[in-house]
Amino acid sequence: MMKNNADVVIIGAGINGCALAYELSKRGKDVIVLDRRHIAAGATGRCGAGIRQQWSTKENAILAKKSVEIFENLSNELNYDIGFRQGGYLIAIHDENDMQQAKKNVEMQKSIGLDVRIIDADEIKEIVPILEPKGMEAIGATFCPTDGHADPFKTAYGYAMAAIKQGARFYKFTEVKKIRVKDNEIKSVVTDRGEIKTGVVVNAAGAWSKQVAKMAGIELPNKPVRKEALVTEPIKRIFDAMVISFRHGIYFSQMEEGQILGGIPSPEEKTGYHTEPTFSFLQRMAYMLGKYAPVLKSINVMRQWTGYYDVTPDALPILGKTSIEGFIQCNGFSGHGFMISPMVARLLAQLINDEKLDLPIERLSINRFKGKVFKEKSVVG
């Protein structure tokens, strides 16, 4: 039987819904999480789960850095091994222009206390021996050794299981159909399995957040964009870092078990819910991997899949309150909703629990789209 009331109803059991359920139940809130499929069924279960603190906007850099501080102790805190590992992110610098931007980014990142530096082509080969700086067209890179990776399934399940221990309820295969609003206040959530009375609804529905927001009469500017990824057969462990390039859009790293996992964007990708993996992605990714690390040309691709980015006009998430009392946004994460989820969840839990927030989040509210848009430049995939 489904419970028919809660302090907070979270729509979506991706990493953000699961982490928020944990933070809220830790504060004694009575929480229900709904998902029309299951835990990590959306972008969370399809993502690269890279964790990067090297951002060009201070908002993203601080969110990511604070999240890494939480990730570092999260397996302990949740009593669940989330597979967190810090092998660093190596970001290619291709020319003088890149170098200028890199210097600016590194300066800002250092100002918030991040351990990050600019390295030359020789050092690229020291950190990831299979890389070929000429093929990469790289004159150097930035490197942050505390960036890393966690297992997205384990992190989501770890948060969910800990939340359940604290009293949160997860109802899977339960789809939200309507959100009832009266006098500008949230009243209840209607699902295909019944209605739940609540004063607070969190929209953590990933690439479907726009539709969920509409149910309460709120317009979001978010758009779904298909992203593809692949994984190769396992090979001997060679490197720990994630390699990325903003110019080529490529990212790849070696997993715990030895596989190479990565992706590259499609120049002709249109917005919309396209699920089919494409052969052109495979061709482009194989070509670029061969340029970056020629030894990989001979290894086998095992699997290829797709997922969606939930993209906002400025590539920053939409967090916090709306004009409807009790309707909270937690979406628009583009390609980095996994890495900032621990801090996002903590901040939203503080907001919902009327605590003082560790960081201000007004700049990330839906209201920002009324004014000028500053775009995050450091995006890949």
Binding site: H38, T275, K297, S298, V301, R303
Partner: protein, 88 residues
Amino acid sequence: MKIVCRCEDITEEDIINTIRKYNVQTLVELKQLLRLGMGPCQGRTCLPIAARILAKETGKSVEEIMAPMARPPVIPTPLWLVSEDDEK
């Protein structure tokens, strides 16, 4: 102890325990939780067996359980073979 997935070394007992602990309803969840079917054979042998175990545990039909598997099976293929031309 019966091994179901040879590639990833997963037993029937692992599968049943996981189904019960997480109230698993679909094969996708089992794949996520256990890395079942992620080995070199890509689940050709283990997924059908796991589907039968899951059907028995949940009382669903094997068809229902297999349904949400959208990912197309890819035959292991060397990267050089699918790479774009070098000319461009």
